[in-house]
Subunit: 465 residues, 2 copies
Amino acid sequence: MNFNIQNVLIAVEDGYAKVDVQVLDGTIVAIAPSLDVVGTLINGDNKLLLPGFVNAHTHSSEMWQRGIMSNFPLELWLAEMYDFAPLDPEKVYLSALGTAVETLLSGGTSVVDHLVLIPGKELETIATAVRAYREIGIRAFVAPLIQDESLTAGIPSGGTSQTHDPYFLSTATTLELIEEAVRQFHRPDEGVSILVAPTGIQLCSDTLFEGCIELSDRYNLCRHSHLLETKAQEKLAQEKYGCSGVEHLKQIGYLGEVTTLAHCVWLTDKDIAMLAETKSTVVHNPLSNLRLGSGIAPILKYRQAGVNVTFGCDGASSNDSQDLLEAIKIGSILHNVTDLDYRHWLTPRQALEMASLGGVKGLNMADQLGSLSVGKKADLVLYDLTNLSLLPRTDPIGLLVLGRPTNVVDSVWVNGKQIIAEGKVTTINMDELRYALFNHSQWETNRKSQTVSQIEAHYRTVMGF
Amino acid sequence: MNFNIQNVLIAVEDGYAKVDVQVLDGTIVAIAPSLDVVGTLINGDNKLLLPGFVNAHTHSSEMWQRGIMSNFPLELWLAEMYDFAPLDPEKVYLSALGTAVETLLSGGTSVVDHLVLIPGKELETIATAVRAYREIGIRAFVAPLIQDESLTAGIPSGGTSQTHDPYFLSTATTLELIEEAVRQFHRPDEGVSILVAPTGIQLCSDTLFEGCIELSDRYNLCRHSHLLETKAQEKLAQEKYGCSGVEHLKQIGYLGEVTTLAHCVWLTDKDIAMLAETKSTVVHNPLSNLRLGSGIAPILKYRQAGVNVTFGCDGASSNDSQDLLEAIKIGSILHNVTDLDYRHWLTPRQALEMASLGGVKGLNMADQLGSLSVGKKADLVLYDLTNLSLLPRTDPIGLLVLGRPTNVVDSVWVNGKQIIAEGKVTTINMDELRYALFNHSQWETNRKSQTVSQIEAHYRTVMGF
C-alpha cells in the first residue's frame, strides 16, 4: 500500500517537526514538509508518528491465566501455571490474537513470543501461533520455548540430594522439532521469524544450548532465553557450573549480537561487562519482575556499560496485561529509586529509542526497522494527541511515556500495511475474539496447585525463609 | 435516584456471588438475589460491582504540566513546577474536571485534592475547584495547600548558613482564609468537604500546624499533609526539630484518626509505631515516588504494624496521570521486591479494601462509605467484564488489580446519582473539556527553570552528589 501521512508531528533532536511521510511498497521513501501525495492520504493533524515498538519478551498463552495466579516467586509460580495449563490449539490461537491486539494498541508492531508448546502438539502449537500473527498482521518473532530438564531441576538443591524426573522429550528430538519449525515457518521477508529459544540455564543442558547455537548459525536465526531472573537461579548457576550463568553462556558461545536475554536481574558488574563485550541485548520486563518479586534489574548500569536494553511485557500471567506503554513507563521510572542522582535517570526519549531501535537491534533488523528513516520498512504508529490522556498539550513524548495513555493509538502499519485504523483492528473481528475468549473461560477463584504443595517446603528451606 | 442493579457479581469472602443491589435515596437498602425492582433497572449481567475507591492524594492543577517536567527529585521538581505555573481560575476549573474524569474512569468516586492556591486568588481557587467537582458530581475533599515558609526553606542547610525570603502571606492571614473557605464551602452532606492541609513539616511553622489543629477541632475537619516524602525531608526534620518529623507532629498533636499523610517514605520503625498508635492514615503514591526517585514506602511494614494505608495518584505532573487503578496495581506489586517472602505480599483483595475502606477511614467516613453494605451511601462502580482487558474470565478482582484495565468502567454512582453511564460521563460535555484543554495549551519541549539553576548546586552538595 502506498500512502502519505500529511502534516504529522515527528520527533527531531530535542524537539518536534511537522512533516509529511511518504510510504511506497512498505518502505519509507520520504520525510519532508509538503510532499506530493502518492496513494492514500492520511491526515496527520494533531497526531504524533513514531516507529513501532517491540514487545521483546512474552508468552502469549499465559493470557489464559492472567489475574488468577497466586502471589508466588517464579519457581512456585511456574509450578502453579503448568498445573493449570491444559492448553489446546484453539486457545493458543485466541491468546496469540489477544496478545497481538494489546501490543498493537499500546504502540507495538513486533512481538517476540517465547511460545509455550503443548506437549505432543509442538509443531501444531507453532503453526497455530504463526497463523494468528499472520492473520492479524503484526510482525512476529516466534521463539518456541524449549528445555530438556524437568521443572524441579530449576530449584537449587541447597546441598541436599534431589532427584528429578527426566524430561519427556529427548534433546535430539527437541532440536529436530525446531529445525522442522524453521523449515516450515521461518519467513522473515513475510514478517514471521523463528528463533532458537532454550528457556534458560535453569532447565537446559549444554547439549541443548549447543544444538541451538548450531541451528542459529546454520539458518541465521536469532537466539532468545531467560537469564538470571531470580535469586534462586543465581544460586542454581553456581551449583550447576561453579560460575555465574553469564560466564557459562559466554564460555559455550551462546551470547552475541543476535542474542536477547529476558530479565537479567541478578548480574554482577563482571557479568554486565560480558554482556557489553558480546553485544548481547537485555529485555527488561519490569512489571513481571515486580509481580513475581524477582527484583529490580540494574538497567541504569546496563546502559552505562553500553549494553543494549529493550522492553517486554512478559507473559500475561505475570504482568497481567500486554500493554507495552505500561512496561515502558514502569521500566523507565522504576530505576529512579536505585540511583538517587537524577542525572542518571532515563528520559522519555531514551525509553522510546530503547523500545524501538533497542528492540530490533537484538533481532538483527536495525538496518530495516526501529526508526523513522528513509529506506526503512514502514512499521509505524500514529498517536492521537487530542485524546484526554494526552492532554493538555505539553511534551507529547513525555506524556506518552510517563502518563497513562488510553485509546491513543489511531493507526498502525506493519510493513506498510494498515492493521489499525481509527483505533480499531482492521484485520480481525474484535467482537468475535472477545466472545471466544469469554466462552472458553470461567470466572474462578480458589485453585490449589498440587505441584506447589510438593515443592514449596524445599523451596522455602533453600531460599532461607 | 432509586434503582436496582440486577444479577451483578459482587465479592464475598474469597469468592463471588450474583445478587441484586437496591438503592433508595442514595443509600444501599438491600443486597440479595431476586429483589423486587424499585425505580430504574440496571442490567448487571457480566458485570462486577465494587465500592468506589478514593484518590486519596492529588493536586489537580498539576495536570497542566504533566509529561513535561524534568527528571528531578522533589525539591528541584517543585522549583521547576512553580516557575511554570502561572495558573488562572479557568485552568484550575478545567484541570479539576480532568482529574475527576480520570479518577472516575479508573474506579474512584472520591478525590482528595491538595489544591495549589493561586497567590492573591486563594478563595477564588477553592471556589473554582468546588464548582468543578459539584458539576461533575464526584465526592470532593478539597484540601487547600498552605504553607508559611518559602520554597528554599524546604532544602536542608547541611550546616551551611542559608537565608530564605519570608512567605508572602502571614500565618494568621492564611488561617483566616481557610476558616472562610470552611464557612463558604464545607458541606459534607452535599459531597464537598474542606480539609486543613498544611503542606508538611518542610514548609510550615508550628504556629501554622497548631492553627490547623485548632480549626480541625472546632469545625470537625480532617487533616491532610505530606510527610517525609524524600531523604532531604528526613534530613531537614532533624535539622529543624532534632527529632524525626513524625515524632514532632505527634508532639504537637497533629496526628490522629482524621489525619491522612501522603508518601511516608522515610520513616523508622519507631515512627511507624507512632502512626499506628495515633491511628493515622498513610496515603501511598507509588508512581510519584518512583518518578521523583523518592524511594519505596515501606507499605508491608505499615500493614504489619496495623497502620491504615490507602492509595493516591499524587498530582499529574509527578505521575503523570490520574489512573487510580494504575496506582493500585503498582502500589501492590512494587513491594514484592522489598520482602522476598511472598507470604507477606499484598493480595488484590487487600489492595481493593485499602483503596476503598482504607481511603474513607482517614476521611472519617468509614461508617458511611467504603464497602458494599446495607445502610451505606451508594458510591458505586460497575465494571464491564466483557472488555478485552478483563478477558479471558479468570478472577475478576485479580485481573482488575493486576492487569491493565482499559475502558472497563461502565457506570459510576456517587451518593446514588449516576454520573457515568455506558462508559461516558453524563454530567459534563467531554468534547468541550478536551477542546478547552487543547486550546489552553501548546506543545513544547525545552524549558529552563531559573529557580532550579539558583538552588541546584546547594541541593547537590547537601545530598552528597
